[in-house]
């Protein structure tokens, strides 16, 4: 195994060397950094040109110049990498390290959301193959597959930002919206649960009426402007997840798992007031956001070892996922209580969803929660746009993969020995179906650093994509190569990690053979 990894890393380095050499020379030959100066009419034109030639070593032929660039990059191994300087005499490495956090903020959330939502929908449509829901989702995912992101982005800016901000002036949902949402929710509920016509109609009516009632309550309590879950809401959601996950993953025959996960939900309720008090304190910082996660996961592990004796793996899975979601609800509740303060803050003035930028320039506040909220609202639109686009891929792949696994002989064997459909799907089919998706995920996470050139440009973020665009249009070779070095390194590493994961998850595949 070690020999295999060593050999692969050797090959990877060779490939990186080759491709960077190619791109360097390609760009050096294709681009002319002096083009702008050549046509300029400045008096000191010749001096400027000479200065730039000296600064960028343009008198050295590109293939040889490449090696001086490579020497700087190889400084990584001695601890002081040198990616050269940009045309404006800034250090490339500083530019890149300033851009990476911005890009991660932009893309990471969307990637995780797309993976979670995409796989969930893919699995549901595979289980309900050829149902109305399946056909609808197939159509929607194909549609998203075909959407140009720059086009969606403009629509989102109009309908999700500008129109939503206008709506906030009153904060009351109008009747056409209530009816429309209720119809959609009714259809979703009816589509999710199969049955004969009568049952479908009952389900539709149930979903329809429940949504209308919910939205009317939202209107009556002015919830849009002053949202919040409260201790009751958090408790209900956490308990709901505890029960739902238990029934989904292990079933109710095993009561002890249910007790363990309900313990986690109960802890979330008990922790509600002390936690909020701690969060409201003066010394609030980002690390303190992790308190509920750590606490509840510890409780989850403890509860599993306290309650159950057999099959602790599945029980742990149930309780830990419950703990994560309960913590998320605690966090969401706290953010919701910030909402009203945020939208009324100076520089926001009831128009919270921005169409462009990374932070509100005019917002003056040193409150941790207000600033966190500000960061979050700026991520909303790009995240939705990116999620829409990459969600479709996961739906298609996970559906196809699960369908293929469901046709395997071992699934028939599992059914033949009388296992419940839930056990067959969760324990036998799903695990195997997710193996091919590791490759896709590894590449997507590697792509996170590379950024989303188009998205950054549409939403005016200054991350890796913007650097890359600037590098191309100003013929800035060192900057381009810096961005390229990072993205291609991530891509080959993702390839390697995907291969290793693959052989670890699927014993039939032997790495190195």
């Amino acid at each position: 195994m070690l020999a295999f990894i060593a050999r692969r890393i050797g090959v990877v380095l060779l490939i990186l060397f080759g491709s960077s050499f190619l791109v360097y020379n390609l760009e050096a030959i294709a681009g002319d950094p002096l083009a702008e100066l050549r046509t300029s009419s400045a008096k000191n034109r010749d001096f400027l040109m000479h200065h730039l030639i000296m600064q960028l070593q343009l008198d050295v032929p590109p293939p040889i110049r490449y090696f001086s660039w490579l020497k700087g990059v190889l400084g990584v191994f001695t601890g002081n990498p040198d990616l050269g300087k940009t045309r404006d005499n800034l250090l490339v490495i500083n530019e890149i390290s300033a851009a990476i956090p911005v890009t991660i903020r932009l893309v990471l959330g969307a990637t995780i959301l797309a993976i979670v939502l995409g796989i969930t929908v893919g699995v549901i449509t595979a289980i309900r193959q050829y149902s109305r829901l399946d056909y609808t989702m197939t159509f929607i995912s194909f549609l998203m597959f075909s959407l140009p992101i720059f086009w969606v982005a403009v629509l989102l800016k109009q309908y999700m930002a500008i129109d939503f901000n206008n709506f906030l002036a009153s904060g009351q949902i109008t009747w056409p919206w209530i009816i429309g949402t209720a119809v959609v929710m009714g259809l979703v509920v009816a589509g999710l649960i199969s049955g004969d016509r009568r049952r479908v109609i009952t389900l539709f009516a149930g979903g329809f009426v429940a949504t209308i009632v919910l939205l009317l309550v939202v209107n009556a309590t002015n919830w849009i402007l002053k949202p919040g879950l409260g201790i009751v809401g958090v408790g209900l959601f956490a308990a709901g997840f505890a029960v739902g996950l238990t029934s989904l993953i292990v079933g109710f025959e095993n009561k002890r798992v249910l007790y363990a996960s309900l313990t986690v939900a109960l802890t979330a309720v008990i922790a509600y007031f002390p936690l909020n008090a701690a969060w409201d304190g003066k010394s609030m910082n980002a690390a303190m956001l992790l308190i509920p996660f750590v606490l509840l996961i510890l409780v989850a592990v403890g509860a599993v070892f306290g309650f159950t004796k057999v099959d602790r793996g599945s029980a742990l899975r149930v309780t830990i996922i419950t703990a994560v979601f309960a913590s998320l609800f605690l966090l969401i509740d706290r953010l919701m209580t910030t909402w009203n303060g945020y939208i009324n803050a100076d520089g926001i003035n009831l128009r919270p969803i921005p169409t462009i930028g990374e932070v509100s320039v005019r917002l003056s506040s040193d409150n941790f929660w207000i600033l966190l909220m500000d960061g979050l609202v700026h991520v909303i639109l790009p995240t939705v746009a990116l999620t829409l686009i990459s969600f479709a891929g996961y739906v298609r792949y996970s559906r196809a993969s699960l369908l293929e696994v469901m046709n395997m002989d071992y699934i028939r064997t599992a059914r033949a020995k009388g296992l419940s459909e839930r056990t067959v799907i969760v324990r036998h089919a799903l695990r195997n179906a997710m193996i091919p998706l590791t490759t896709l995920m590894a590449f997507d996470f590697a792509g996170v650093i590379g950024g989303a050139i188009i998205t950054e440009s549409v939403f005016g973020w200054h991350g890796m994509g913007t650097l890359f665009r600037a590098a191309i249009s100003t013929q800035d070779l060192n900057l381009l190569m810096g961005v390229f070095a990072i993205t291609s390194f991530m891509a080959v590493m993702a390839n390697l990690v995907a291969d290793l994961l693959y052989s670890a998850l699927d014993p039939r595949i032997r790495a190195g053979k």
Binding site: V23, A30, F145, S146, F150, F468
Partner: protein, 343 residues
Amino acid sequence: MAKKNKAAEVAATEGENAIALHETAGLSQGQIIRKRFFRHKPAVASMIALIFITIFVFSASGIHLGTEAHPITIQGWWKYSLTDIPDTNFCETSVGCPNADHPFGQDPIGRDYFALVMRGAEQSIMVMLIVGLIGGLLGTVIGAVSGYFRGWVDAVLMRFTDFIITIPSIIIGAVLGFKFGNLGVVALAIYLGLFSWTGLSRLVRGEFLSLREREFVDAARVAGASNFRIIFKHILPNAMGVIIVSVTLMLAGAILLETALSYIGFGVQAPDVSLGSLISEYQDSFTVSPWLFYWPGLLIISIALCVNFIGDGLRDAFDPRQRRRITRKDLLAATFKKPSSEA
């Protein structure tokens, strides 16, 4: 009505059985695949729509090859061209809104927007076809040779493929497009095609690795067939499914890549237009003159959507593993049904 539905259902299941029976009755592979494809309604509808869009776009806009200095042009039937600036049509809220003379309206300069959009669509379809052709050919040949010969040929070719994969397509596109965008859309498409074969070649290689061990290959070799003949006459037709499906996906990817490049200004360069550059140019006038924004986007979506659906239909047709899976309900139904279709 209910009876009719029932009858249709019976006919459908019988149709399915009939096809299954025909398979054993000796239909050729091509016939089976064609039958399966034509059963996929969305794919057939998309194919008709795509053919219609292509013919409509090319006949309206004509065909423009070559560069600005040396154009090679076949004129289309639409009365306005890119450079015509007819009188602007005024309406209540904005200028240049759609009317009978200008079905898609006019842009702020006064150019006929239908002509611009058709020209953009022509470029996009052209890029799609050329990328598909070049990428498909390269990917097939490289994958076939490396899977068939294995050994050092395979090692060299696959490392070369890895090497191209490391360079993200948008980087290649941007570097090349920025430099060669003024050479016209054909040059851009050729360059994009030269870098878009990698995924296909890996798939084809995998297919060849398994197919080359089959008996019919041994038979051909014993009969004295050359390597060239075995690759292209014996193995390749069996790998056609993978190739066709992957090429359709490549086509949809190519049209999105081209429009994205043109959107950020690295693809088709002004004064020529592309669907991406039109959107980028007029996105700010979305609230005032929404037609300038909607038409190019709708065209991109409909072309890409059609191609994706056709790809899905082809995959269903070629890949028997994707056929309807047998559920518990089917098993029960089959057990308690009289075995009429067995005969």
